[in-house]
Structures are given as structure tokens and as C-alpha cells.
């Protein structure tokens, strides 16, 4: 798994590539956490290149979301493939977060 962070206006775009599972999720969570601690509390998760997400990956997202909540921040998602969308849907995450078709659209949510 690879994670890259790009600042776009008042938001931070987090692009995840590869697999988010028990092996990689702790690293993903700690990288996001340190950015949140630096004051980046509006996140856009760009999942274009995410190939697989397991329960461990979902849990890391939930933990990040809880942390953001404490900091009055937010995370939204964009560019989910069919399989990833399916996992989000069966885990009930689809009713907790907002989803967008592109990074630009996801960023718009924070500009309003």
C-alpha cells in the first residue's frame, strides 16, 4: 500500500494505492493521524487506486473518522470502484459518509 497526501485549499487529499488490510491499515491510520494532529481536519480520501479493503481497513477509517469528529473535522470519499463500493455498503459505511465521483466534487463539499 502507498499513501500520498496533497494539500488542496483548506482540505487534504489522501490517495490510497493497493491493499488496505490487517498488514497495511495500522500504517495508514498512523499516517492520517499525524496529519490530523498537525491540524489537517478536512480530508478527502481518493480511493481510485484502492484494490482491496478488509475489515481491518474499514476499522482504520472508522478510527480516523472518530478522531476527526473530536477535532471538529470530517472525511469524505471519492472514486470508489465497484468492489470497494460494495464493501462500504455491506458494512453500513455508506450511510455515515458522503461519496463523490471525483476529487474536485469532494473538495467542493468543503468550500460551501
Amino acid at each position: 500500500m502507498q499513501v500520498t497526501f496533497n494539500k488542496e485549499g483548506n482540505a487534504l487529499v489522501v490517495a490510497v494505492k493497493g491493499r488496505l488490510d490487517a498488514l497495511t491499515a495500522p500504517d495508514f491510520e498512523s499516517q492520517c493521524s499525524s496529519h490530523i494532529e498537525q491540524g489537517h481536519v478536512l480530508l478527502v480520501a481518493d480511493l481510485t487506486e484502492l484494490e482491496y479493503i478488509s475489515s481491518a481497513g474499514l476499522r482504520s477509517i472508522l478510527q480516523i473518522s472518530k478522531k476527526l469528529k473530536q477535532e471538529h473535522g470530517q472525511i469524505n470519499f471519492c472514486c470508489l470502484s465497484g468492489i470497494i463500493q460494495h464493501v462500504f455498503s455491506i458494512s453500513g459505511f455508506d450511510s455515515m459518509f458522503s461519496f463523490h465521483d471525483s476529487v474536485a466534487q469532494a473538495l467542493l463539499q468543503y468550500e460551501r
Partner: protein, 281 residues
Amino acid sequence: MKTEVERLITVIEEVANGVYSNDIMEFTKPGYHQIMQRVAEAVGMMMVKVEAREHRLEQLIEELKNLNDQLKNNILKTVVTIANALGARDNYTEGHAVRVAAYAVRLAKRLGLPERQIEHIRIGAVLHDIGKIGFSDRLFSNQDFRISDDMLQEIRSHPQLGINILKDLDFLGPALDYVHYHHERLDGSGYPCGLHGNEIPLGAQIVSIADCFDAITTERCYRKGRNCSEAFSILRDMSGTHMAPQLVESFIEEVEENGVIDGSKEISATTSDLHTLLAEG
């Protein structure tokens, strides 16, 4: 393999007991038997699903709390607006309603009543005289202390008039009773229903004491306001016959400890003053 299975079962039991952690995810890593990985992933998914739902519920509860606060605030604004309608006819009544609410809330808090009941007492007290809006002009403009029988009857009709006005506002709940019964007396000599003792709701008894105290201490066109010790002595005369002694004593203690509300400030109370005083009360 056997100890690994036993460890997995222990972790699953922990999840079943509501202990959520990353322990279950360990068994989804390479190196474990494929069946154990599948079981662990399935249980892990269930766990995350439950955790996500709990988190969502917490969020919803928070949203509901915020909406409820907004709603309460709007109710209070509505009530103050209604009270202001009476204030437009009679300056004394406007300041009086707000002061009575502040005194009543102070007594209710001193008695340790639940927050919800205190809110109803606050609202009942602000509205207690709203029925006077139906009074004829002669009662508002009267400079003469002599009151005829039919004027007395008109004055005594105000709790019922108030209820007639407010009865469809369901959200007022018990506050309606406090408006209705704030002139009832323990010995049954009050109006409009002649209720006795505990038939009179506690909130109405509290509003009644606050009402009397403010009426005694406020200057009116036909007489000067009395000082606190005179007012306490009048309340004590009414104690036992008109008012519950323990309520009268608690009220007196409250005023002795925390003082009277500055009447001159509130007589011409504007809406914002009303809000401030209501919030402080």
C-alpha cells in the same frame, strides 16, 4: 494449530462481549490457515459493522440533542413573544412576568427539582398572567384603588382566560396547569377552582409565591412597593393557610441569600432583556 484456534475463539468471545480491538484482524494476516483467516475476516467485518452503527447512533443522538436545544429555544422565544403581547397593554405585567419567572426558577432550583420541571415552571411563570390580555381597558387604566364586584370577577377570570388562550399549545405541558392554578390557595379559598392542599400542583404553588412576592415588592400606580422584610412578613402570614410553609421558608432563604431582582431594570424590559433574565433565572 490447536492453540491458534483457541486464541481465535477467545478473541471472538471478546468481540461478542463488546470488546472491540484490532486483535481479530491479526488472524486475517498471511501465515494463518485459510479457514481461520476467513472466520476472522467475517467476524472482523461484523465487529466493524456494529462499531460503525454505534458510532452512527452516537452522531444521531448528538444531532437530536442539538435540534432539541434549538426547539426549546424557539419555544422560549414564542412564550416570551406571547408575554410581550400582554406587556404592550400593561408595562407592569411585562416586567412582572419575567421577574416572577426568575424567582420561581430560583426557588425550584433550590428545591432540587428536575431540570425538565424547572423549564415548565419557567414557562408557566412567564405566562401566568397572560389571561389579563382579555381584560377591559378600565382595569389597565384604573388609577382608583376601589374595585367593584364585577371588576373583581373580571380580575379573577384571568387564569381561566389564560388557559382558553393557551390550551392548544400542547408543548406547554404542565406549564398550563401552573397558569391555571397560580391563584389557588392551600385552604381552598383561592380561584378559579378552589383546590385544596396537594391538589394544587407544586409548580403552581411555586409560581404563586413568586407572584405574591413580586406584587408586594413592586411599586404600583396606587401604592409604593414594600421592602423585603415587610414582604417576608406578609408571606409568613399566608404560610400554612394560603401557601405551604416549607416553600415559603425556602423562598425567603433564597431571597435572603441571593437577593431581590432589580425591579427598575425590568419594568420596561425589552425582548433581549427578557431573554437574558430568562437565561439567568
